[in-house]
């Protein structure tokens, strides 16, 4: 009974904070709403006996990725944030697409499932060896190659982030000038284009 009340609480908080995260105007508030969402997601992982993943959710998602988002939001000044043309011009079309997708997926998901054959790690066995140890065993035996590839992906992301965010020598001086005197900005952008 308690666990169901806990689930309903977490589910309501997740839905509410996700809707707020995509609808609030201030990007900082959006990121903070997603932070609340990640904490409740970790709570749901605890109800599913996935303690290691709950810890990873809080440490990596809330601790690293969201802090990265916050730093980029602080780098990019809020007055003139970067905007793209939305994929679909009218916002209501996007909402209708999302609601329709939700309807179709719920229609597919909600009927009772026939579960497939059980794996070899029931809850009692996992509790006996502890969850982190089970994940480690599987990760370093069965999924060794994907694990190495994940490391490679992280390396590529690290290098890519460095190369993308690095400031070219000379470009920075240009930028300081343009920030101080806005009229010359067009000229410098044209100079960059011609270069």
């Amino acid at each position: 009974m308690f666990i169901q009340i806990f689930f309903i609480y977490c589910a309501l908080m997740i839905i509410a904070s996700s809707i707020l995260a995509v609808s609030l105007r201030n990007p900082i508030h959006c990121v903070l709403m997603v932070l609340i969402l990640f904490f409740h997601m970790a709570g749901l992982y605890l109800t599913l006996n996935a303690e290691f993943l709950a810890a990873v959710q809080i440490i990596v998602y809330a601790g690293a990725i969201l802090v990265l988002y916050l730093f980029v939001l602080f780098l990019v000044s809020l007055r003139d944030e970067i905007r793209l043309v939305p994929f679909i011009a009218n916002a209501w079309v996007g909402r209708a697409v999302a609601v329709g997708l939700a309807g179709v997926l719920l229609y597919a998901v909600l009927p009772a499932f026939i579960l497939g054959e059980k794996g070899k790690w029931p809850v009692e066995a996992v509790r006996e060896v502890t969850h982190t140890k089970v994940i480690g065993q599987e990760l370093y035996t069965t999924y060794l190659l994907p694990f190495e590839i994940a490391g490679l992906i992280l390396l590529v992301a690290l290098l890519g982030g460095l190369v993308l965010a690095r400031r070219e020598r000379g470009e920075g001086d240009n930028e300081v000038q343009t920030a101080e005197e806005p009229p010359s900005e067009n000229a410098s952008i044209q100079g960059e284009v011609s270069r």
């Binding site: 996700s18 809707i19 970067i82």
Partner: protein
Amino acid sequence: MIPLSWYMALAVMLFCVGVCGFLTRRNVIIMLLSLELMLNGVNLNLVALSYYLDSVRGQIFTFFIITVAAAEAAIGLGIAVTLYRSRRSVHVDTINQLKG
């Protein structure tokens, strides 16, 4: 004991809120954030199924998804910073140049 369909319904709703945010918002960073919401919906689905099937396969997949999400956030935000740097005060209506 919580039925499996509750978890799956919650995951579906989270995914669709992410889709809605991705399609309607115009700020690049919020679009990336909606992508994270979608990934979290998928993660919840995988963990719930791995619990009900007595297997840790779904949890390992979730682990890898978190890794890829971190990489995607780093690259995407790097692109956002570069974009902001090259189009400082220009209101970006169309990003239609490959080099410039």
